[in-house]
């Protein structure tokens, strides 16, 4: 399954990924209209972290055994068997934030602009390539398959 990966060394911290994510999830889908009218309501689904000259964008990994799906009390968070994307059904979500508590990447956000719902990357499933990847000016985000097993198995160093 194709997922989004970031090459840290080429992220320039411009945050255009956040901008285009907001446009994609807006009502109008037009960049100027979105920001002139809807700006404060839309949350970008990815997080750009920055310290000094290091920066990278991180979003939902659409894990195989997703901790958020396990923690969801309403069945809103589900992994779609066809696309592989983990998506939150906003109609079922009650805003309990159990997913925010469980996600080890911390990539789920609280959206309280209208109804309380959990907000996260949905892999832009109706697009060929997610909009953050497409619009990164330095091609730091890549949309591809990787061989690694996504079972978050971290082998901890012995008394490291």
């Amino acid at each position: 399954m194709k997922r989004i990966y970031i090459q840290e060394e080429y992220c320039i911290g411009c945050r255009l990924c956040e901008i285009y994510c907001q446009v994609k999830h807006s009502k109008s889908k037009k960049i100027i209209k979105t920001f002139k009218e809807e700006k404060s309501d839309i949350i970008p689904r990815l997080i750009v972290e920055e310290i000094g000259y290091n920066s990278f964008a991180i979003q939902c990994r659409h894990c195989q055994d997703a901790p958020c799906v396990e923690a969801c009390i309403s069945g809103a968070m589900q992994k779609n068997k066809n696309t592989g994307a983990v998506v939150c059904d906003e109609n079922k979500c009650v805003g309990c934030w159990s997913c925010i508590m469980a996600c080890p990447y911390g990539v789920i956000k609280r959206d309280i602009s209208e109804k309380k719902v959990a907000s996260k990357c949905d892999l832009c499933i109706d697009e060929e390539v997610p909009v953050c990847v497409k619009n990164c000016p330095n091609e730091a985000l890549k949309f591809m398959e990787k061989d690694t097993d996504e079972r978050n198995k971290v082998k901890v160093k012995n008394e490291g």
């Binding site: 255009l16 100027i32 920001f35 700006k39 000259y53 730091a140």
Partner: protein, 510 residues
């Protein structure tokens, strides 16, 4: 506080109906031109700091920015131009040497734009390069005086074997090489892009005087290693890794003077690559302190050939100056396998403005006179001639070869392909495109994957255009164009210029 006599050079126009205050411009400008005001949710721009690099304009997602040259505020004066006034203001402020970057931008005659190329019509049919073989492969190195063959023994079909031993050559798949740009003047990502693109396209890049970085060792087979006056990074491994060795005597942008990389820019990485202590100034002296005569040069050339076991071409790079023809002759006689001539329009990372703009001669005239002189002396075959100094298009390449060059170096064109907008502020080290800087925040902006791709595309595009032009004139091998002045005509030139260039006026026939 002193009176500020220098106004901004550029004006920033922001279309507020399009600006969404996304702050990409704020984040991307290394000169802190744009600033976001949280209270009013508006971005303010301080034009006085703008250098005109267009980074913000290129990245703005709604196309809300336009960078324009500020309208002149001075009364029109063709003698005391705005530039002269500004330079004096700056110098009165600082008392120092005025620096600049990239190549000479003055309106001296550009001969490329007055030379026209030929095409076949009736007498000599054109060739379609997409249908018939077209050879633009080029060999750089000394060619033998004559060729001797011997018949292969015991065979029926009169096969001949070459008896003459050939001198070492560089094989180029097209007559274009990436110019010398040192690691230090440009970022490592830029060097990687050039090296990888050269490898992929079957041509070469040049280390410049910065030495060869260890990450680039794998491309060493496609790299010309330079021995400059500071001898940075030069040891026997370095010499043997490269595909050829080039002794740098001078460069077109700053003939006759040396170079200076300030200690602040000599990071750990640069210190390792140049083999100098970290934090010390890297000063390249004007002459090589062991070359004070042409005999000394010959000695160095032969020393380098010994050190590399006579296995690769050893050449010399000089700036195009007034007596370039006899200089070139002397260099060839001193044993150089190739000679690179850098015209006055050549680029640089930092040079004093007065020298960049007033010293040297145009490459077109240099090539023509060097080629002529070497042919007259019967030694043209002993060294390849590489032309450098503002080759801007494939047309310039073709004209350069017709004037007598074996190949051309491209420097500025390569950087432009990678994003350079010629703001000429390379010496500040704040290149917003991640090219002429070592600041890690800025060097990230040049993704070598993208850089390589763009350079390969540039070379591919130019190769195709060269083939088209050759085909158009009925030539199917670049060999036939070399020094073939008959295929050039000039317009708007004086008699003297025609004579030096060795070409006829447009309208004149054979």
């Amino acid at each position: 506080m002193a009176l500020k006599l220098n106004q901004s050079e550029f004006k920033i126009e922001r279309d507020l109906s399009k600006c969404i205050s996304c702050q990409v411009c704020v984040r991307q400008c290394s000169n802190d031109v744009h600033e976001y005001d949280r209270d009013s949710d508006v971005i303010y721009s301080d034009s006085s700091k703008c250098v005109g690099c267009h980074r913000c304009e290129s990245l703005c997602p709604t196309d809300a920015l336009k960078i324009k040259e500020r309208e002149s505020q001075f009364r029109i004066n063709h003698n005391w131009t705005e530039e002269h006034l500004r330079n004096i203001y700056r110098q009165a402020d600082s008392g120092g040497v005025l620096l600049t970057g990239m190549g000479c931008n003055k309106p001296y005659t550009i001969y490329w734009d007055r030379i026209l190329f030929n095409a076949s019509q009736v007498t000599n049919p054109s060739i379609d390069p997409l249908r018939e073989p077209m050879e633009i492969k080029t060999f750089i190195g000394r060619k033998p005086d004559n060729l001797e063959f011997e018949m292969a023994s015991g065979s029926n079909n009169n096969a001949a074997k070459l008896k003459t031993k050939l001198y070492p050559q560089m094989e180029l798949s097209m007559p274009i090489i990436f110019s010398a740009m040192s690691y230090g003047s440009i970022s490592l990502n830029a060097c990687k892009s050039l090296a990888e693109a050269a490898s992929e396209s079957g041509t070469y890049c040049n280390t410049g005087e910065g030495g060869l970085h260890k990450d680039l060792y794998k491309y060493a087979g496609n790299t010309i290693v330079q021995v400059a006056s500071g001898r940075y990074g030069v040891d026997v491994d370095y010499l043997n890794k490269g595909a050829a060795v080039e002794i740098k005597i001078g460069q077109g942008a700053k003939p006759g003077i040396g170079g200076h990389l300030p200690g602040e820019k000599v990071s750990r990485d640069i210190s390792d690559t140049r083999m100098i202590p970290e934090g010390t100034d890297a000063i390249s002296p004007a002459p090589h302190h062991d070359i004070y005569s042409i005999e000394d040069l010959a000695q160095l050339i032969y020393a380098l050939k010994e050190a590399t076991d006579w296995s690769k071409p050893v050449g010399v790079k000089v700036a195009a100056v007034h007596n370039i023809a006899p200089i070139a002759s002397g260099i060839v006689r001193a044993g150089a396998d190739f000679i690179s001539i850098d015209g006055m329009r050549g680029g640089t990372g930092a040079a004093p403005q007065v020298i960049r703009d007033n010293v040297g001669i145009p490459i077109e005239l240099a090539i023509a006179s060097v080629d002529e002189r070497l042919r007259e002396e019967g030694i043209r075959h002993r060294a390849s001639v590489i032309a450098a100094g503002s080759i801007r298009s494939s047309a310039d390449v073709v004209k350069a070869i017709a004037l007598g060059a074996d190949a051309v170096y491209i420097g500025t064109a390569a950087l432009v392909a990678m994003g350079c907008h010629l703001c000429q502020k390379c010496y500040t080290g704040k290149c917003n495109w991640g090219i002429a800087t070592q600041d890690p925040y800025l060097t990230k902006r040049l993704n070598p994957e993208i850089g390589t791709r763009r350079l390969v595309n540039l070379l591919k595009g130019w190769s195709l255009e060269i083939k088209e032009m050759l085909g158009g004139v009925g030539i199917n091998a670049i060999e036939s164009l070399r020094g073939n002045r008959e295929h050039l005509r000039g317009v708007g030139l004086t008699d003297r210029e025609f004579k030096i260039l060795g070409i006829k006026h447009a309208g004149e026939a054979w």
